[in-house]
Each structure stands twice: as C-alpha cells, then as structure tokens.
Subunit: 638 residues, 2 copies
C-alpha cells in the first residue's frame, strides 16, 4: 500500500497514512481526539472534516448535505486518502457536544413501572445467537450463507427469510477471520426473521435497544438491555417541536405549509440526543443499540416517520397508517446501529395512538375480567373502556391547562413551580419544586388551587370568583384575579396569581376529560360504579392529588382501592413489546379489537361537556361526597 501524507495545517502536523487508514485514524495519529460517539461506523456524523487539497476515496455519506459535499466536507471515519491530502478540521467537529437534557423533564424518567403486568415469552424484537459453525470441507461444501441458515435452524429453530446484500458481502471474510465463530443479530419483523448482521466472535451479551415515548410535550427514552431484559437507564426532554406549536393541530398545519422535514428533524434530534446521552452515560456504543421502539400519539408517529398528517385533523380524521411496519431506524435519521430497526407501536385511530395501545397492554385491560377504564391525561385526554371481550376508545382535546400551560402563571414542574397547595390553619400553604420561593403553578398545583378556592368559597361551583371572599381577590372589568403569593415573596419578583380566564381553561380541560369518560360509559349503558378498575396514566398522573382531582370533577368519585396511578404506560407497553415478540404481536389484536368512538359524532358529548363545566359537576349525584356536603350545607349542618 502506498503511503500518503495527511496534513492538518491548523495543528501544524502531518502524518503518514496508507490507503486503508481513515482520516479519523490519521487525525488520531496527529494527536487529535474527535468527538465521535459511534466508534467510526459513520452513524453519528460528528467527525466531519474538509478536504482542502488532494484526492480521497469513500462512499458519499447520506449524513452530508449537497452544500457540504461541494465544500469538500467528508465523514472522516468513512474516508480514505487517495493521494497526499490537506485536511481542515471544522470547529464544530472538535467541540464537545453539550449533553443538554432538560433538567425539568427529569420527573418523567421513572424507571420502575407503575404497574405489574403478566409475563410474556422472552423473545426480544432483536436477539443475538452465537454460532460456532463447522468449517466447510469438500464433503460439506454448503455456501457460507446457507451454513449460517442451517445452524440457525438447528440451534434456534429459526427459519430466516431476509437479509441485506451488505451482510452477505462481508460474511465470507467475517467467517474466515473468526474461525467460523460469529454472532447473528436477528430482527423479528412482523413474523419474519431478518438476519440484520453477522458480528465477529461471540457478542451475544451485548445487545441494547431503546424504548421511546414520543409525547406531544415530553419525550422519554429508556435504554434497554435485551440480553438480560432489564431497563438500564432513562432520560427525558421536552419535544423540540413545541416551537412550531404546543398543540398537535398547529404542528400538523405547520407540516402542511412547510413540509414535514423540520418537524421530523426536531423530533429525531430529540430522540438522538436522548439515546446518545443514555449510551454515553452507560458506556454503550451506539452501534450496539439494535432497535428503537417508539410509542406515541398518531400525529407524533406520523411526524416522526415523515408521513403526511394532514388528514388526521380533517373530518373524517384518517391516518396514513395506524400500523407502520418495522423500518430501518437510519431511514428516519435515528442514529443507532445502521442496520438497527425502528418499531412503532400501532395506534387505534387518528386520535387514539400507540401510546394507548401500549397502555392497554401495560395495564392488561385486554385480559381483564371485570370492566376497566384507562384515562391517559396529557395535552389530549384519551379514555379506554373495556375488558377481555371488548374495548372502546375515545379522545378529547383538553388543552394544556392541566400541564401548567394556557394559565397566566402556569409553568412546567421545574424549579419554583408550586406543585402542591393546601389549607393549614385556615391559610393557603404551598410546596415548591426545589424548595425555593415560588414562581408559578405547575398542573398539580393548579388542580389543588381550584379545589382549595372552592373549599374556601373564593370561587363558586360555576368557577366564578365570589366578590369579597378574600382580601387577595380583586376585580377588573368584572373579572376576578386572586393573588396567591405577593410579588415580594416570589422567585422572580412577580406576583403569582390566578384569574378568571385561567379557571375557565382548567374547567374546560377537566370537563372535556370527564365528559369523554361519561359519554363513553353512557354509550355502553354503564355507570362509573360499574367500573372495577380505573387506571390513571400519564407522566402527569403520578403527581396529582386524587382527592382534589375528584373535588373539581376531573376524576370520578370512586373507592380508592379501585383507582391506580400507573404512570407512563406508553413506555412500559413499548418495553414489554421490545422484550417479547408475543407482546408486540398482541398490539395488532388490541388495535383491531378496540373500537374508536368519535365524540364529535356523539349526540350527547356537547351536553355532557356543558354539564361538566361545573365544580364538580352539574349532576351532583355523580359525586356523592360533594352531594353530601351540599345536603349538609342546605340543612344548615355546616
């Protein structure tokens, strides 16, 4: 091999390199450490260099733009000198990437599931099988690939059906360099087994996956170890798509106007950031993350895959697909093993997504004997009702009030957020995230506040402020404003208050959810008392005060034993499926079994919604405790 000179003028150094030395290796010889995190597999795209002079060899990377290619940018790990060359290393390549994960999103990272589900067969969607093959002879002259297939059939009962050309190209050398001892990476693609890769030697104990809950507001990623079926670590961040709109509909409109690419890039960027953070923190190479399973609402999954979402928001609300098959993760830009797969949890309808299919699987509703209800409370609220025989789903737009947005002093549950409000000795008290002075309310604080104001008779059951009920209450143009914390006592020197519009937004949100649940029950001629188990899901779910949620009529009044906060069932369902094809295949049955009930098509929903815009409800008989309280008040006993 001829030796070439590779010069890095910015460093004043030149090294020798033969035609088999990558520019990344040459840079290493010159003492430059590049912030590559994929181990030189051309996955992470971080080792960009500019060839200023001379000729190089190597495939054109899809990670580069046309402009970059024209400027001479190459991925150093995929490029070889073909003459003496002069190389410039851009600043971005040398800079260490900020592992900026939103601190405040960490409350979504719980690793323990909120629920215990039944066991499924241990058959991860991507598995590894170590193969110690017999070496070929004149008598046993089977071709290399058929030798692999024979052994897989014999040792693991697997009849493989698919494989890519690249693997077959490298197989003969991989086998002969490793004494015919290799590890097959197998992907289960909807009943078909694909040999995704053949790795040198025995790597069967190094096999990772990622489960991702793709939420409208928050994205949560778990790193999964597929060799011992454990969740290794978790990470969360806010959905960067928020800059294009907080609500799904505004993002869909954005995709209609400007194409899906900017929304896809935002989302894929978030997922890559989460996954590479998890990988680095746990010293796992991206190339050993062999699959990602994503669970999210139908619109988010469309924007992730680059599918047109425009018909989701238009009557009759049609998704492009509710059950995307597994794709190559690289096809949407997710940076894991280049052959790694992207699995999607199938959705039920345009407005009840895979996060709910995952929720049904995680709670085991599809095998429940009695009647179970799942309420998933987020920017949208979804209700699932059913059991082993039938399942019905509906969805209501709640708006972001219960997440602390669309409320004047609302905020995420970050430092300074009032997360709990209660009355002690007749005075309003609060608990703040981070034990600092308060700056605003997060969702759970707002629910508490409404309940407390109702209790203290600062607002009436219609949610209107009662004049003269508190010295902290003022009116302007007939609309009340109740200051909870004076500006002198707050974190940012601005008073923390709630005003009529805020109360109205919360009323709308809670009414939408409750009305959705009630309408669904009515549709089936059932009552809340017929529900044997109520699962409350959502990152949100674990932080609210159940009693206050009932007081304001967000949740129905039920015996505590029947209510269970189950946390992020989207990611637990996805994880169950990642570890078991049996569970993954169940998704299809759940999807087909679940009937979507469109509330817009219901004659009762608007009426139910109107009735529910009362604290707790116009029909007070639905809330026996509140009824008792009202009765007592009428009888003059309180």
């Amino acid at each position: 091999m001829p030796d070439f000179k590779v010069s890095f003028p910015s460093l004043g150094s030149t090294v020798d390199a033969d035609t088999d030395t990558t520019l990344l290796e040459a840079a290493g010889k010159a003492g430059i450490t590049i912030n590559s995190i994929c181990g030189g597999d051309g996955i992470c795209g971080r080792c960009k260099m500019i060839v200023k002079e001379g000729k190089v060899r190597g495939d054109v990377s899809m990670l580069l733009t046309r402009e970059e290619i024209r400027r001479g940018v190459v991925l150093a790990c995929q490029t070889y000198p073909d003459s003496d060359i002069v190389v410039e290393i851009p600043e971005e390549t040398q800079a260490r990437e900020r592992l900026a994960i939103d601190e405040e999103a960490q409350r979504f990272r719980a690793i323990r599931p909120g629920i215990k589900t039944r066991e499924f067969l241990k058959q991860p969607l991507v598995t590894k099988v170590f193969l110690k093959l017999e070496k070929p002879t004149l008598d046993d002259n089977l071709a290399d690939w058929q030798r692999i297939e024979r052994m897989l059939e014999k040792s693991a009962g697997i009849r493989t059906m698919q494989a890519g050309l690249k693997i077959m190209r490298s197989l003969p050398q991989t086998l002969r360099r490793n004494d015919f001892a290799v590890t097959a990476l197998l992907g289960r693609r909807s009943g078909i087994c694909e040999i995704m890769d053949i790795e040198a030697g025995n790597t069967s104990d190094v096999n990772y996956m990622a489960a991702v809950d793709v939420g409208t507001s928050t994205i949560v990623a778990h790193l999964l170890n597929a060799s011992d079926l454990s969740t290794v670590d978790a990470e969360a961040c806010f959905n960067s798509q928020s800059i294009y709109g907080r609500e799904i509909t505004t993002r869909i409109i954005s995709s209609e106007k400007k194409g899906y690419e900017h929304l896809q890039e935002a989302l894929v960027g978030d997922i890559n950031r989460l996954v590479s953070t998890l990988a680095q923190r746990n010293e796992v190479s991206l190339r050993n993350i062999n699959a990602v399973i994503c669970s999210g609402n139908t619109a988010m999954m469309h924007l992730l895959l680059g599918l047109p979402a425009n018909n989701i928001r238009r009557n009759p609300f049609i998704a492009a697909t509710l059950q995307p098959p597994p794709f190559r993760a690289a096809e949407v830009g997710i940076k894991i093993n280049p052959r790694g797969l992207l699995f999607s949890v199938p959705g039920i309808s345009a407005w009840v997504g895979g996060d709910l299919t995952a929720g049904i699987l995680a709670t085991g509703m599809q095998e429940f004997d009695g009647i179970a209800m799942l309420m998933d409370i987020g920017t949208n609220g979804e209700i699932i009702l059913g059991n082993k025989d039938w399942l019905m789903a509906c969805s209501a737009s709640t708006g972001p009030a219960l997440e602390g947005a669309s409320v004047e002093c609302g905020m995420m549950a970050e430092q300074g957020a009032i997360e709990r409000i209660y009355v002690e000795d007749g005075r309003i008290r609060w608990k703040v995230v981070g034990d600092v002075a308060p700056a605003g309310f997060c969702g759970s604080g707002i629910i508490d506040l409404i309940a407390v104001m109702l209790d203290l008779k600062i607002i009436n059951r219609s949610g209107r402020f009662i004049e003269g009920s508190s010295p902290a209450l003022t009116f302007e143009n007939g609309l009340g404003k109740f200051v909870v914390v004076e500006k002198e006592n707050t974190l940012r020197g601005k008073a923390v208050f709630i005003e009529q519009d805020d109360v109205d937004n919360v009323m709308t949100a809670k009414a939408a959810i409750f009305a959705a649940a009630k309408t669904l029950l009515d549709r089936l001629q059932l009552k809340f008392s017929d529900v044997d188990k109520l699962f409350i899901a959502g990152g949100f779910g674990s932080y609210i005060n159940l009693e206050n949620a009932v007081t304001i009529g967000l949740l129905p009044e039920m015996p505590l034993s029947k209510v269970q906060f189950v946390g992020n069932t989207s990611i637990w369902g996805a994880t169950l499926a990642a570890f078991s094809e049996e569970a993954y295949m169940l998704f299809r049955d759940i999807r087909k079994k679940t009937t979507y009930y469109d509330l817009l098509g219901s004659p009762d929903y608007v009426d139910q919604f109107t009735q529910a815009t009362f604290l707790p409800h116009t029909n007070i008989e639905l809330f026996p405790s509140a009824l008792a309280e009202v009765d007592m008040a009428e009888e003059g006993r309180v």
Copy 2:
C-alpha cells in the same frame, strides 16, 4: 410559488420556472430534448446538468459521484430551482446513446423455448391488483394503509407483510387525487408479499419484467410481459467482463486484486444496455419493468451482486451464498422501476450455478420418471443426472475451445465464421456465417473439422496429424498444421488453418465433458444406455452437428430419439419462475435435492479424462458405431 429564471447560456435561452418545475422540464421549455429514458424518475441518470450559478433543491442522487456533485452536477429530473440559476448542459447529456448491441450475439436471442415444460400456477413474482376502495367516513375511519390491506385481503386473499416508508408517505395524496382508485404493485419475496408501490388509477395491464441469462461469455435478456405472461422480445450481447479475463477464474483473481466494482459495473452496464434497448424498442418505460430475474453460474451471480467470489476458486470451493434473497434491483445499479426487485435463481454449488437449477426446472428433470441427463456446454461444462427421486451434478472446466476461442483461427459465430464443414465428392466444403469468404472457425465448425479430418484420416484417433495424408498439411518442429482455406480465398487475406495445439485444446475440452458425464454415471453404477433422455443445453447446443459430436466423442452415442437440443434452458427456467412463484419456490427444492459431486474428489476422473482424450474414446466399446467401423477396418471391409 415564486418564479425563477433558469438560463441555459450555451443555447442563449432563459425560461421561467417555479419551485415545482424540474430542471428537466425547464430544459424542455427551452426547447432542449434530453435523452432521458426513464420518464423523469431519476432512474436512468442520463439527464445530468451542471448548475453553474444559483441555488437548487432536491435529493442528492446516488447515481452521481462525489466529484460530479462537487462540480455542481445534478440529475435535472430530480432538481428544482431555489433561486435564479444558470445551467450548463454537458455534451454527454445531449448525445443520443448508441444502442450498440453486438450483432454477432444475436444468435443467442431465440424467443421460442427449445422445450415444452409443464404448466405452473399463474402467479408472476411481481403482480398488479387494481383496487377500487370505499372512501373513508366517520364510521369507516380505517387508516389509508389498513384500507389498502383490507381490500387486498378481501379481493385477492393477500395478507401483505411489508412496505417501504416512501410509499406510505405518498399514499394519502395518491388515494385522494385518484378518487381512491389505485393499483397495488405486489412483489412476492420468498413467501412474503411486499407492497412495492401504489400507482394512480388502473395500471394493472402495464407490468413488465426482464429475465437475464448471465453467462460467462454471453448475456441474454428477455423482456417479459407479466400481465399476459408472454415473452415480448429478446436481446443479447457479449459479457463486457471479458476484458478482465475470458475464464471465470481469471475474473475472480481480478476481483481479488482490484475489488469487485469494475466487474460488477461491466456486467450491470451490459444488463442495463440490454434492458433499455428492449424497453425502447418495445416502447415500454423502464419504470414499468418491475423485476429482473437473473440466472447464471455461481461466480457470475457473485460478481453481479458484488459478493466476494474468492472462495469459489479455492479448495473446498465455497460460495458466499447459493440462494440470494430478492433485493432491490437499484441496489446493484440495475435501472428499472426504482422499487423493482432483483431475483436470483439459486445455484447448486460453487461450480454448478443457477443456470443449471433453471435448466433442471426447464427440462422437468426433477419430475422425470426414468433417468435423464442434462449436459450444459459452455466455457464450463456441467452435467446433471437424475430424476424425480434424486439429482446429482458435476462440473468440468472445458476451456473456451468449443466456443471458438483458444484455437488459433477460432472466432465467435459472427460474419466470416465457418460454422459447418463437410465432405462432398472427397473434398472439404464449408458454410460460412453471412455467406462471405471465410475468416476462421466458430465452435460448431471446429467440431465438424475434427470429425472430418478423422474421417479423411488427416488425424489419427489420438488427434495427431498423419504425415503425408494431405497436400495441405505441413509440419514444423514435428507439429502439423492443416490449411483449410488458402489466404487468397479468405475474408481477411489470412489462411484459415488448424494446428496441433488447436486439436489438443478441442480434445481436452471434449474429453473433460465426456469424462465428467462418464464419472458421474460410474459413481451411480449406471451406463449411458441407462439414460432415457439426454438434454443438450447451451446457446451453443443448437448449432452443433450431433453425428460429428459423437464421432469425436464429445457426446455419447445414443439413439437420436433420446437426444434433445434444448437451447438456453437458463433463460427458460428463469422465465418460468418469473411467471410463477410456484416454479420459483421449486428452485429451493431442486437446489436442496441436487447433490454436488466434486470431480476433483473423485478417484476416477483423471483416468476417465485420459481415456477420453482419444477419438472418440480409448474404450471404443462406448461408441458402438465407431467400434463397428474399427472392426470393419480390421477385417479389411473398408
């Protein structure tokens, strides 16, 4: 949409174009017709233009090299203006491509099969199904993709399993622009059905495929109409890989030294040239050719797919794979529908390829009651022996003598080639291709010549020239040289002759084939007389004189009724499979059922070979007619 100016300075013209106008369309507006043959699908790569000034939009095409991209080269049909631009049209883009198909290769183009085979189920590997879907409503709110799946299952009983992301991305618009009437393009990939594309409207009667026989010397392509299961047209050319060596082994060595790319490019270039010629001549768009099925020897298939062939030539002779799964044709550079599939006919061993599997299928040997033998005579000779219960294969290196190469005055069967030689009134006569003066011998002429020289006692049964047997025979260093046509009477003014080396090469070739057949029979304790049917295959096969082939001992002496020339069974087998998945699936059974017998591992082969280097054979009892002749001679009756 803003309008941009697109200038073509070389033509002195400038046209307006909006952001949805491709540069190809803009060129059309400027009156320039570009020699694009794919209809603007980015398949053929012929519409290259150079953007000299301004910004453009569009994906980077894989058909462009890094150097081209740096120079601003784009595929005009895939590129849109993003500002005012100045465009240069390279000469190569305007030039009409020469549809240079080797004239002399046309003898391989026969469209009628040489054999009648049994009928298989009509189920082409790629089919089209027209779907007239119900439009979605609130009550029937199935997603677009699931709507397609439901209809396919209902109307065609097809449970689809796979589909690409791009199709799902375009599906919603395709459906709505075409009133939910679309055509599904379905690929049968080893038992799995893939939705390859969804086309607008009803295109179910436009569905083409190509069958290609990838020979070491000659490549033959047939254009198939998959909607009426007919062969439309045929074309042939010589394998451009020949410049890297006439024999398989030299090409493998070339791939070991320089990589497989140059060999793959040569072959893929040939296939593309044949397929686009067929497409243009029959007014079929490349985008409507939805599959290519290739049949060839194992090494050729490896070089086509870019698989390492190095272990094929080394003991114990191991292929990378004998049954490649279907790939996207674009993955190896074959220019048809970008989603089109490349099917490979599976091979039996490193030295008995898919052309023989196809041959077995085409002749129906695998269902034969008696004992059948298939001799495929080309640069290598392969023998298959067997019936419905068992099949055994072997391969012998014959060298190219029987194809007119490695013979001093040998040539392809082109104009000027002596293709028949016979004796009339005691004088040697000949028939020349193209009815011109002779220039040399092709394979059939050489076989005739050896037989005629034996008959005229110019050579003896050892293939040595007999001194004084003819005035046209001269000797130099003890080696004879027999001039058949004096230089005055030839096409190129050079004498047409045969010398001892040539005779030796033919003797070696014919001995190798005969010895292979004999060794295989011996292995199974059978005799030629046990063979109920002898199929002679190869483009070659239809041109030789059976009697002369027996006279020199190339073919065994058998009753004429048992012998059948079957022509190019490689392409007929491939065509049968293209039109029927049932037939395609049979290939696997045939491959598994056929035992490869390695002649190098046989204790008898060398001995058999030595015995066969005699005219017709040392063991004259194998050739009763010759024996009779010898007997008569000994008894003085002739």
